[in-house]
């Protein structure tokens, strides 16, 4: 039982981190129809900025806030200055995000070098927790709870607030929302900034127990893609479901057949797409 419990917990907590990354991705895709290929870079940027803040203040909470806020601001600037110029041309938007990620990757490499780094979480959180059957790293459990908080927060935002109402309407019928006199551009900026915030935060959290280096952005991006394809575009609930599924697949494969991890990950993706081309909870458009 215990040999299965460990990969199970790892899978769930990794799924929680994936959810934190992918929920922003799915929002941007659902509302703005942009495949944000710089999404992995947001994660890495959050991790590196968190690292810098941590080094200068020695305060982990400041690192979390600093990483999240700065990536949020960077995302807003990217949206306002660059993406808005090509709004409506979906392929150009996607290409632009590739270019941005390409530049940022090189800039980060120049500043921080290529060695893997990690952020040291405070002992209170990092120490192993006794779960009865086994000791488990506290930071992973912490990430799990933050992810649940974030999920609930997002759900409240989307289902209970006016901006959430606009987002939901925008996912379903964007032209109609703007026809009703809502400034959809401002909503786009807000959503993109929110995505930056959440992804930057997940970067600092993830960077506190998984080492990161340039190149990690690409795996984060691909895992977010897989989560969103599995769960269905534009659906936050789907992202949660997809993230836990992928986390479990990844963790069990890594435990029992590490060589075949990617085959399992993409095999499941192909399988889901073959039977449900729009993912678990996605709507056909």
């Amino acid at each position: 039982m215990i040999p299965l419990l460990m990969p199970f917990l790892n899978g769930i907590t990794y799924g929680a981190l994936l959810f934190m990354c992918a929920s922003g991705f799915t929002l941007v895709f659902g509302l703005m129809r942009i495949v944000n290929l710089s999404h992995g870079m947001f994660y890495l940027l959050g991790a590196y900025i968190g690292l810098s803040v941590f080094r200068s203040t020695q305060n982990w909470i400041f690192a979390l806030i600093g990483g999240a806020l700065s990536v949020g601001v960077i995302a807003a600037v990217i949206q306002l200055l660059l993406l808005r110029r090509v709004q409506g041309f979906d392929l150009r938007e996607t290409l632009l995000t590739i270019g941005i990620s390409f530049i940022l990757a090189d800039v980060l490499l120049a500043i921080y070098g290529g060695m893997p780094q990690s952020i040291k979480a405070p002992d209170l959180i990092a120490q192993p927790v006794n779960l009865g059957l086994l000791y488990y790293p506290g930071i992973r459990l912490f990430v799990f709870f933050v992810a649940i908080l974030q999920g609930v927060g997002l759900w409240l935002l989307i289902s209970r607030t006016r901006i959430g109402q606009i987002i939901r309407a925008g996912v379903d019928d964007r032209p109609m929302v703007s026809a009703l006199g809502i400034n959809i551009n401002r909503v786009f900026t807000i959503v993109f900034m929110l995505t930056g915030l959440l992804t930057g935060l997940s970067g600092v959290l993830g960077g506190s127990y998984l080492a990161f280096a340039t190149g990690a952005d690409f795996s984060v991006l691909v895992y977010s893609l897989v989560v969103v394809i599995l769960g269905g575009m534009g659906s936050v609930g789907g992202a949660a479901l997809g993230a836990v599924t992928l986390g479990l697949i990844d963790s069990f494969a890594k435990t029992f057949m590490p060589q075949m991890t990617m085959v399992f990950v993409f095999g499941s993706l192909m399988l889901v797409l073959a039977f449900r081309p729009y993912g678990f909870l996605g709507k056909e458009r």
Binding site: V35, L82, P277
Partner: protein
């Protein structure tokens, strides 16, 4: 004005033909005109433009933005490397195999990918590219993991080894030229025209009785084959193959080349790769941060020059326009990357 255009028409056509002949002549005798290092760069320009043409076939004519082309290029390179180094296969056997495997892979990928469109299609290509990248890393018995395979010797055909830079140049030029002519033929054939129809309005084409998915599928497989040929040439050029060839920055290189030149015509790839290779060579001498510079250029092109250099519209009375009749191709695709 009307008369003026008509009177000038024959002259323009003549100029265009002369220009084409000059370009062909240049490529044929290039090793005589250029220094060995320049010939070396020109070789690189040739196969990079071929892989970018395979990208243009999909995006410009099929409306499918594929980020997996460089991976097929890399897979072909791996087949050359593995076949030559591990199994000592002769060149004339390993080359067909190296083209066949990307065709099979793109065939398998296409079955799933044609179910998706536009943004979903892009995501499928990213996911598949990543699968191949991890495959090249993790299948280390064959691919030697991070280190890659080095020391792929010169190709030997008909008992002749293409060792010198000039020989390698012709070894690259001839297949590239054949592939270019084939691609040109394909894009101008009824198939190519129908593919453009599918790009512009899949629904209409479907209503007219065209099997839209089949056209997409065939385009994906063909572009896989051309990327494979380019990969063969690239593997012999570099003499090595490593997982780097399959990652995102290589993919950006193909995007950059195609977008810089322009995706509305196959020739855009040649213009783009010429400029890319020169930029790359120039900046990498002076700075390690040439990736940033290339990236900034890339963003600027996407923002301000969506149809690339050959898509720039000149005024009809410009000399350049009359020489090249730039930005106008009555038989070519009209749409841009929107």
């Amino acid at each position: 004005m009307e008369i003026g255009v008509k009177r000038g028409f024959f002259k323009d056509a003549l100029n265009r033909r002369t220009l084409c002949m000059l370009i062909v002549l240049f490529f044929v005798i290039a090793p005589l005109l250029l220094k060995p290092f320049q010939t070396f760069l020109l070789t690189r320009i040739l196969f990079l433009s071929l892989v970018s043409m395979s990208f243009i076939l999909l995006i410009g004519y099929g409306g499918m933005l594929s980020l997996v082309q460089i991976s097929f290029f890399g897979v072909a390179g791996y087949v050359i490397g593995i076949g030559t180094l591990k199994y000592n296969m002769p060149t004339h056997l390993v080359i067909p195999l190296a083209v066949l495997i990307p065709v099979i892979l793109s065939g398998a990928f296409g079955i799933i990918a044609i179910r998706t469109e536009r943004n979903y299609f892009i995501m499928m290509t990213v996911a598949f590219a990543q699968l191949l990248f991890f495959g090249s890393l993790q299948w280390s018995d064959l691919t030697a993991g991070y280190d890659g395979l080095t020391g792929i010797g010169s190709p030997t055909l008909f008992g002749h080894s293409f060792k010198s830079r000039t020989e390698l140049y012709y070894f690259t030029l001839i297949p590239s030229a054949i592939c270019y002519l084939l691609l040109r033929r394909i894009t101008q054939s009824p198939f190519g025209i129908a593919l453009q129809g599918v790009r512009d309005s899949a629904k209409k084409m479907s209503a007219l009785g065209f099997n839209v998915q089949l056209y997409r599928y065939l385009a994906i497989v063909m572009s896989g084959a051309f990327a494979g040929v380019a990969g063969v040439l690239g593997a012999y050029f570099y003499g090595m193959i490593a997982p780097d060839m399959l990652n995102l920055s290589s993919c950006v290189m193909v995007l950059f080349i195609a977008l810089l030149g322009g995706v509305t015509r196959l020739e855009g790839a040649l213009v783009g790769s010429l400029i890319y290779v020169l930029l790359d060579d120039f900046f990498s001498q002076y700075t390690q941060r040439y990736q940033t510079i290339i990236g900034i250029f890339f963003v600027l092109i996407v923002l301000f020059l969506p149809n690339g250099i050959i898509g720039i519209k000149f005024k009809t009375n410009d000399t350049l326009y009359r020489l090249f009749r730039m930005g106008e191709n009555p038989n070519g695709p009209k749409a841009n990357i929107s």
